[in-house]
């Protein structure tokens, strides 16, 4: 009644005071902005995913697949990277969570690139011109630009490789018990080198295919000669 009276009286000030006094919870306003916590290049895909309330991985793979239709996404990405403001209010995640995000992003990117390549070759096989051809229009020129950009990136102070905690790397190579599909060789190598086991597995599969299975001899030698890591939970040494 009081509000109605205020409105009728034209005294809007009371209404605003009531809104700001904390009794009504503020509804967060969704803003389209670049993410600062979940970034691969500039955080645009992650920002869009946050705005659409979906998983950033889906947006990233869709974005990669748009390359099949031409290079317009790349142009849109660059424009958005410059125009969108960064989300400066976001809380910094814990280091373990950051590491988890990095790992997930790496797998998303790797998986997305393989799916993109798969679709590209499938389209080529069926005689459909994929947009990747448009992007690689003047192969040499585009490669030259890419090489120059990579060179500039190297000269700048940017970090290219993820800095792993050196203490995490084991001193001795052993087959993995936790990260194991067949004999735990790939998991063990991944732990020893400090990289994702998916990379080792893909390299192994591709190498085995390209060497007519000869590479599997190397895998088998590893499986026979290497020992499993110590299982401290059962006291086996």
């Amino acid at each position: 009644m009081q509000d109605e009276k205020n409105i009728q009286d034209g005294s809007d000030e009371n209404l605003f005071n009531k809104m700001d006094d904390g009794s009504n919870p503020k509804i967060p306003v969704k803003k389209l902005q670049r993410s600062k916590n979940n970034v691969i290049i500039a955080g645009v895909c992650s920002g869009v995913a946050g705005y659409l309330n979906t998983d950033p991985a889906n947006i990233r793979v869709i974005a990669l697949l748009t390359f099949l239709l031409g290079g317009w996404f790349l142009a849109a990405y660059i424009v958005l990277a410059f125009l969108l403001p960064a989300d400066n209010n976001a809380e910094q995640p814990a280091p373990e969570f950051k590491q988890k995000i990095k790992k997930e992003n790496f797998r998303t990117l790797l998986g997305g690139l393989l799916i993109l390549a798969g679709f590209h070759f499938a389209m080529k096989m069926f005689g459909i011109n994929s947009g990747l051809k448009i992007i690689l229009f003047a192969k040499q020129f585009v490669w030259a630009l890419a090489i120059i950009l990579l060179g500039l990136f190297l000269i700048s102070k940017q970090k290219i490789f993820t800095e792993y905690n050196k203490n995490i790397l084991p001193q001795k190579f052993s087959k993995s018990r936790n990260d194991k599909l067949l004999f735990g060789v790939c998991g063990g190598l991944a732990q020893y080198l400090g990289i994702d086991s998916f990379v080792i597995r893909i390299v192994l599969i591709l190498s085995a295919l390209l060497t007519l299975g000869m590479f599997l001899l190397i895998y088998l030698l590893f499986a026979i000669a290497a020992q499993f890591e110590k299982d401290e939970s059962f006291g086996i040494k």
Binding site: A57, V61, E104, R107, T108, L110, G111, G112, L113, L114, I115, L116, A117, G118, F119, F121, A122, M125, A138, Q140, F141, W143, A144, L145, A146, I147, I148, L150, G151, L152, F153, L154, I155, F161, Y164, K166, L169, Q171, K172, F173, Y192, L193, G194, I195, F198, I202, I205, S207, L209, L210, T211, L212, M214, F215, L217, I218, L221, F222, A225, A226
Partner: protein, 170 residues
Amino acid sequence: MNLLELNKKLAGISLISLGLFIILYQLNIVAVETEKIFGMLIVLCSSISVYIFLDKNERAKLALSVIIFFVGVLFLVESYYEILTTRGIVFTSILFINGGIFLILFIDNSKEKIFLSISLLSFFLSFLSYTILRKMGLFELANKIANLLEIFWPVILLVMGIGIFINRKK
């Protein structure tokens, strides 16, 4: 400036000059074989990287540097010699590069005798593939299988990509 920074700068300058060379070559301003220059630069930078990362507990970077080194060597070999059977060189190179990686990993940590065994086995298989197995018609067989794989290549890539994407949170 430490050696790592210096190598990064050297690699950066090399890449920029290579990119400029390619553009100038495309515009018919210079006539230089880019493969040769690219190979030389890659070999130079990766050799320095191997020296930097050796015995520093940076095994992934060390392995990557060895791969890049051999890719550079491949570029140089290709620029000097005319190689007719490209698939054949891939077959031998994969095994040889693998041997190189594990040899460096053994040098990095000489307690791991298994790496030396793997390295020797890889070199032996690489040598075998180019001598006896080649005479036995290995490259013809490799070509046949590669042709078959070429048909299923998109399926292999899609299955691997989707597999990785689904398991990304594991």
